[in-house]
């Protein structure tokens, strides 16, 4: 009986904590939106973050994109060979990359690379009172630290995604045509026929949304962390987990709305 009561107590507490956290994320989101539209727009800071989130993630995104495209071509080939429809591999790779894997994998890689770094950096700044220092010098940390990161996330993710789409299709081509011997013309023709502009654009809209999610949650976890060096580590982990889950869950809903 006592155990039961304790269990209920724990359950209630965790529900309460979750609700509380959702509320505070919402408040955080609103204040970020408010500060985003208050001038001045700090272009230098945005460029700096775009370099960090975008340019420096380029290599890892190209790598994952290429290999994903190659694997899809290989897997698709074994399936389509049964129906002698090998040239469909091209459009399968292209549609898979542009609609789904391009945005999602890019977002997950950037979360791991940049989202975690945002949480760690802001957490460290909080521990060493740098965030207090910003307040004291009348520079709002949300405006100064978070808005540039969120804007950079929204702007760079679509750019990274289009690169991932492209190298993924290239990777699929190089596995499909020279290695597996699919007819090059049929391969390319299938892509241009079955892939529409909306497939690409919707993938990019998704990517922008994911960029917003990962930068917002990374910043949120870092900005609201407590408890010294250990807290920084915890905030980083939580930021990656929360962003990754949110990206995958919101992907479902975005797909349901768009396609």
């Amino acid at each position: 009986m006592r155990n039961l009561i304790v269990a209920f107590d724990d359950l209630g507490r965790s529900v309460l904590r979750t609700v509380e956290e959702m509320g505070s994320i919402l408040i955080f989101f609103v204040s970020v939106m408010v500060w985003m539209f208050r001038p001045p727009l700090r272009l230098r800071l945005i460029f700096k973050q775009m370099e960090f989130v975008g340019v420096k993630s380029l290599f890892v995104v190209v790598l994952t994109g290429t290999f994903t495209g190659m694997v899809m071509a290989l897997q698709g080939y074994y399936g389509f060979r049964m129906f002698s429809a090998e040239s469909m591999v091209g459009s399968t790779v292209a549609l898979g990359m542009t609609r789904e894997l391009g945005p999602v994998l890019t977002a997950l890689m950037v979360t791991a690379r940049a989202g975690s770094a945002m949480a760690a950096e802001l957490g460290t700044m909080k521990v060493t009172e740098q965030i207090d220092a910003l307040y004291v010098m009348s520079a709002n940390p949300i405006k100064y630290l978070i808005v540039p990161r969120v804007i950079a996330g929204v702007l760079t993710l679509p750019a990274l995604t289009i690169v991932a789409d492209f190298v993924g299709i290239l990777g699929g081509y190089f596995v499909g045509v020279p290695v597996l011997g699919i007819n090059a013309g049929a391969f390319v023709n299938n892509i241009t026929m079955l892939v529409g502009l909306d497939d690409i654009y919707n993938g990019l809209v998704k990517a922008a949304f994911f960029g917003f999610i990962l930068s917002l949650f990374g910043c949120y976890k870092g900005f609201t962390m407590t408890g010294g060096a250990e807290g920084v580590g915890k905030a980083t982990t939580e930021a990656v987990v929360l962003s990754s889950i949110s990206i995958l869950v919101s992907d479902y809903f975005l797909t349901a709305i768009m396609f």
Binding site: P40, M50, E51, G54, A159, L160, V163, I191, G196, L197
Partner: protein, 474 residues
């Protein structure tokens, strides 16, 4: 530290991404949804099962449009098709739904109507809807054939089965045996006569073979589409008239064998076919010339727009009134006036007692002018000229059926201050109403930077359009 600046790296990165996006946009989709080219025609079908949005619309196997949408009207399917503007359809053109291969996608096929007939306009309806000779129909026909076969076999069965039937069969067999015996006797008795008869038969079969060869040749010609009959056979549903066609074919073949009939001569005479082809061709060129003129005047369009922008930092509004002249789809001119709350800047150097002082004045009542020339490449518009009474350039990017416009402008280049940069997004919410938001003069070093939000109204001046289409355009 690295030599390349942050800005350069980011700029290069974004540039690469944009180039890839541009390349991919050009590759996919023959005419992207960015440019809403072409006019709409409608057709009502009994059944369009399997026909999807964006399916091809073809004439003679060449894609000339896409299916825009399918909807239900009074229990029938209304199919909206967008046809390329350079393709003109006659009022009596026929339309049918076909299938790629046996299990492939459905598409719409249009067969052009009579030459010289009036053309369909935007929103026109193709009334000549052909029943589809598709796989469903074929399967239905096959079903009825097999049921016929079944009926025959079952009646046969009725005849044969049962005691009575058995007795009949036995009687038939006995009769046959008797007949064979009699025949044998006759043959034995007339051995010589029989051998003569057989040689006659052999000669007759040789004659028959020759007749079949000539028939084959004729059918081949028809198949290749030579001559008017070929055209006729190709156009009509073979399935529907198969019996009739074969019957008449046999008749024709017989007549041709006998060397009779004008059709036979026509088929064999090469000259006649050439004459018909030549006259068709000359008609085609004259139509082309007419088409060119019609499309040209049709494309000249004029737009008038008002745009208001509320500058948050200035607490004031900036207004634009613009006239856009578009002689061709991908080229236009913009002239307009701008009312800026800051007004027009004028700089004068005044020398008093040897010291020169520069005086900057802002005249609030002065209007600014825009005069630009613009060229459109697919989804991107590059323009340049006079922007707010200073030299400048701009770039627009269109997406989502031209509903969304992203714009970046740079003007007022001056060595003493940063250029005036501006970017904004504009989105069409209703037919003529657009909402916009952006950042004006965002690298100003004089504190002029301000975010803004606003709206614009655009409409095409129909009256002006008709007036101008009567004036010859160089």
């Amino acid at each position: 530290m690295s030599v390349i600046s942050t800005e350069a790296k980011v700029g290069l990165f974004i540039l690469i991404a944009l180039i890839i996006l541009g390349y991919m946009s050009f590759q996919v989709g023959e005419y992207g949804f960015g440019l809403k080219k072409g006019y709409l025609v409608k057709a009502v079908f009994d059944n369009v099962s399997g026909l999807e949005k964006d399916a091809s619309v073809v004439i003679a196997g060449v894609e000339v449009g896409r299916v825009e949408g399918v909807s239900l009207v009074h229990g029938k399917a209304l199919v909206l098709m967008r046809i390329l503007p350079e393709v003109m359809l006659e009022r009596d053109a026929s339309v049918s739904i076909k299938t790629h291969g046996v299990l492939g996608d459905k598409y719409v096929e249009i067969v052009p109507g009579t030459v010289g007939e009036e053309y369909l306009l935007d929103g026109g309806v193709i009334t000549n809807v052909k029943k589809q000779a598709d796989i469903d129909q074929l399967l239905r026909d096959l079903g009825s054939i097999s049921s016929d076969v079944m009926k025959v076999t079952s009646s046969l069965e009725n005849v044969i089965s049962g005691e009575e039937g058995e007795a009949n069969l036995k009687a038939i067999m006995t009769n046959t045996r008797e007949l064979m015996e009699n025949l044998n006797n006759i043959v034995k008795r007339n051995d010589e006569k029989v051998s003569v008869m057989i040689s006659n038969f052999s000669n007759a079969s040789k004659e028959m073979e020759r007749a079949f060869t000539s028939l084959n040749e004729i059918v081949d010609k028809i198949n290749r589409g030579e001559g008017t009959i070929g055209q006729l056979v190709k156009d009509e549903g073979v399935f529907d008239n198969l019996d009739k066609t074969i019957a008449s074919l046999r008749e024709i073949a017989e007549k041709i064998n006998e060397g009779k009939g004008s059709i036979g001569r026509l088929v064999n005479e090469e000259e006649t076919v050439d004459n018909i082809n030549a006259s068709l061709k000359s008609l085609d060129t004259s139509m082309e010339g007419i088409n060119k003129y019609i499309t040209k005047t049709d494309q000249f369009r004029t737009f008038v727009s008002y745009r208001g922008e509320y500058l948050f930092e200035e607490d004031n509004a900036k207004s634009y009134v613009e006239l856009k002249l578009r002689p061709r789809e991908d080229k236009y001119y913009i002239v307009g006036v701008v009312a800026d709350p800051r007004g027009k800047r004028s700089v004068t150097d005044r020398t008093v007692d040897g010291t020169t002082s520069r005086i900057e004045e802002w005249d609030r009542n002065e209007l600014l002018f825009n005069a630009e020339i613009a060229k459109r490449y697919k989804d991107v518009v590059l323009r340049g000229g006079l922007l707010e009474s200073t030299g400048g350039v701009g770039i627009d990017y269109f997406a989502f059926n031209d509903d969304l416009k992203l714009t970046f402008e740079a003007f007022d280049f001056d060595s003493e201050r940063n250029p005036h940069l501006k970017f904004y997004a504009e989105y069409g919410i209703f037919n003529h109403i657009y909402l916009s938001a952006g950042y004006d003069d965002f690298i100003s070093d004089e504190g002029n930077e301000s975010p803004f939000a606003g709206f614009s109204i655009k409409f095409e001046d129909e009256d002006l359009k008709y007036l101008l289409s009567n004036v010859p355009i160089p």
